[in-house]
Amino acid sequence: MSSTTVSASSGFRLPRWAIPAGATIGFVAAYVIFRGTATLPHDDEAPQFLAVTDLREWIDDHRNDNPFFLYFLNYIRLGVGALHTLFQTVLYALGWPGITGVMGALAWLAGGWRTGLLALAGVSAFGVLGLWQSSVDTLALVGVAVLLSLVIGIPVGVWAGLSARVRRTVTPVLDVMQIMPTFAYLAPLALFFHIGAPAGAIATMIYAIPPAIRITALAVAQVSPTAVEASTSLGATRWQTLFKVHLPLARSTMALAVNQTIMMALSMVVIANLISAPGLGGDIIRGLSRAQVGIMLPAGVAIVVMAVVLDRMTLATARKDPRARTRRTDLAVAGALAAAGLALIPVLPAVWPENVTIDVVAPVNDAVRWAEENWYAVTTGIKDVTTYALLNPLESLLTSAPWWLVALAALILAWRVSGVRAALTALACLLAIALLGVWEHTMQTLTTVTVAVLVTLVIGLLLGVAAARAPRFSAIQRPLLDAAQTMPAFVYLLPALALFGTTRFTAIFASVIYAVPPVVRLVEDGIKGVPPTVVEAAVAAGSTPGQLLWKVQLPMARRAILLAANQGIVMTLAMVVIGGLVGAGALGYDVVSGFSQRTDFGMGFVAGVATVLLGVMLDRITQGADRRTSPRKRKMS
């Protein structure tokens, strides 16, 4: 209202693009004038890094005599380690017949014959792929991590569900935990818990706990307040109401929490190999460091299979009607499966017999080699065009601009898009990054992320719009997206590495495949969520399909699209950092390097922190956007 009256009374009206254009010109001018000044070039020996490295040395020297370690942290490590050994011992003792039988039986009970057979096939697949040992190790690690996540997450979640105050305290912490790229956890963990399976389990737990808490809280908060009140009115104590009303009513939603926790754990457990946690991660990392897709692929497939089996099992449990009695035949079959498995333990060898494995390493490597040779021109072309046309110019822009100019630009952008609060948070993050001494690398990572996000959004919008408009296309695409979202992030490095070698573009390619599915989904749902009456009205008014899309559907799906952008950015960042393993350089590489060179520990640690700050900044800049319905509204208030 203010804008129209003001411009009407002054009788002069700036065109809408004038202010942004003016700002852009201002920034370009400032860049041209100040370029090359106040840059913050990277220094491997920055005092901040050295301080952290020294701290690590100190901790290493006092790990066994400092009381905090001796009586606290080491006990945690020890307890988790003992739990892991327990899981491992049980799984090893079961051997493949036992594990197959028991998993099959559990799955059969959870979801009937389909799930049961799926589990049998899935577990056998570990053996057939020749990865029995690693798979069992991974299973043990996931088991420990999920158990711990639930043991901690469910009580906290219940508490948060019961008390709005707790919920308000916990939510921002969980928010940050969820945008924290997985890599960032590892260095501090190694610092406190050393390396190995216990540290890996703890890292995985930290990554997997947010959904456990969040979904449990949601489930408990959703419980019908009348039912709770009725229970209280009859004189039930809090505990009675909790156990007789809240928990039973929240049960099926809480099963989803378990499901999500398992999925998160599976995607983290691979990365935990960087701090020497055992399992399939080892095979994937070995494949990466040998650039052999043939080694990585089976391990990737095994992880996906494990994810699918556990996903179906827990989902089936969640969807199960709690009142339906398990059918007697199902019980019988499950019992028979478990009994057969257990009975066969002494008879059959504990590890999968080697002659029933298929060796895919050589054929896959050959196929990849073929693809490399034949597509070399194309893939190199794509890579070089993107690198020279987008990556390098943007990177040199960001690294040669004065840091204050970049900070100012971020401030103004965040302010415009998400308001004052977000702008200040973004600024604070950038300043902290500058102080940490990783400015240049952050700008490089930001470049890679920006390019990847652009590509992700373009592809995501195209596919999402296509799916929203063509139901048949959507029907084909959905299951693919489902599968893509079940896969641990790491797996996406495979095809990227095969096609593009170790470069920044590889990370971009991997993050695009990683982030596109949720973006497509959000866009599709957003467009489909436009009320049919509105669409009808527009069609009745004679809109062409194109007009309908541009003038009605896309603007009305704005919220969903912005949310998609936000999601895309967070996911891309996580992946770009992992890309440090395959040549993406910058922060991701610093983190990797921090794990592998003791002298670089400080740099890696700081880079991890900077990654988190970068994530918070990008999240805040874009997050406000989806809370606002239209840019006008804010002007009025």
Partner: protein
């Protein structure tokens, strides 16, 4: 317990409930006298119950009525501190509820007062019988015993044969019967109903009202019944309290409310009530004038006006209205016609 000075089942005095932080400050100052809208604008607090006092006699059905948002639910929840009152006194069977310890409060809720809710509040994961037995279960009554009791109550509310069903397999009316049974199962002295039938369709609602009347006759509980439906209030209530913006504006029998509304709000409320059904002859009779023949038919003062019409049409003589064996007044045909036509001689007189 029984040594209370009054013999009321429930006594409420000067009860306040103010939602929002700073409630105590509002109560301490002059802001308490502001009307709710002004109060909310000034302090952000909502005064849901404002200085309410009343008594409920043992065995009585006490109805609280008012428009949506007038504070009825809040009031009834304050009685057992499901919502903590901000100020005032609540006594149940003479015992000061506000002073009760958490454990004592639970005892009161377990044994003395139970409640029926508008949206039933049944536990979907439990069978009907276990829903009904829930109150006994949390008291620690052994399974067999509580199931026996629950089955008894189920047949009392007419749900024989549904013990093994789940709530969502029942119709709305049946679900509320389960809610009723659950409240009855603990054998309380007082039952609170918060608009128990407003989610039901009219026919079922009528059945359920009849059910409550029947139960009241059979088990003789004290009942506090919240409703925003006037005809329901008139049908069930011995006495009715009308609430507006958190305060009680009038408390009395149906006849008093219809016959002498305290203000326009109440008058508005009762406007559409068929007055001849509610008001009795006591309300319209007049002192016999000289020349009125006093040998006409005789009717008790508590006869509803509508029932007098047939008598009046049979006899042209004025009807003698008798209360406690004495003549209270007379009503003739003209009086009746004038009343039915809407010119209420009494209220005209009262207003003058």
């Amino acid at each position: 317990m029984g040594d209370s000075p009054d013999s009321a089942a429930i006594t409420v005095e000067g009860l306040w409930k103010i939602f929002g932080s700073g409630a105590q400050k509002v109560l301490a100052g002059d802001d308490r006298n502001l009307d709710p809208v002004a109060l909310r604008e000034k302090t952000g607090c909502t005064a849901a119950v404002r200085d309410v006092s009343f008594e409920v006699r043992p065995g009585e059905v006490f109805v609280v009525m008012g428009l949506s948002g007038s504070g009825k639910s809040t009031l009834v929840r304050c009685l057992t501190r499901l919502i903590e009152p901000s100020a005032g006194e609540v006594r149940i069977d003479g015992e000061d509820v506000r002073a009760a310890s958490p454990a004592r409060l639970r005892e009161i809720r377990r044994h003395q007062v139970s409640m029926v809710f508008q949206h039933f509040g049944l536990l979907p994961h439990r069978k009907v019988i276990d829903n009904v037995a829930y109150g006994l279960e949390i008291q620690g009554v052994p399974r067999q015993e509580r199931h026996a009791r629950a089955a008894e109550i189920l047949s009392l509310v007419g749900l024989d044969g549904y013990a093994g069903s789940f709530p969502d397999q029942l119709s709305g009316g049946m679900q509320q019967r389960v809610g009723l049974a659950r409240a009855l199962a603990v054998d309380p002295q007082v039952m609170l109903f918060d608009e128990p039938f407003s989610a039901l369709d009219p026919l079922i609602r009528r059945d359920m009202q009849a059910e409550v009347i029947r139960l009241h006759r059979e088990v003789g509980k004290t009942m506090v019944f919240i409703t925003h439906d006037l005809s329901e209030a008139l049908k069930l209530g011995e006495r009715i309290a009308i609430m507006r913006a958190g305060a009680i504006v009038q408390l009395g029998t149906a006849e008093e409310l219809v016959g002498a509304p305290a203000d326009d709000y109440v008058a508005d409320f009762v406007r559409d009530v068929p007055r001849s059904h509610v008001l009795t002859l006591r309300w319209i009779c007049r002192a016999p004038e000289p020349g009125d023949p006093l040998d006409g038919p005789e009717l008790p003062a508590a006869t509803p006006v509508k029932d007098a019409v047939a008598v009046a049409s049979a006899s042209s003589l004025p009807i003698k209205v008798v209360a406690d064996g004495e003549l209270a007044g007379v009503v003739d045909r003209d009086d009746l016609l004038a009343f039915l036509a809407g010119q209420d001689p009494h209220s005209v007189r009262a207003n003058a």
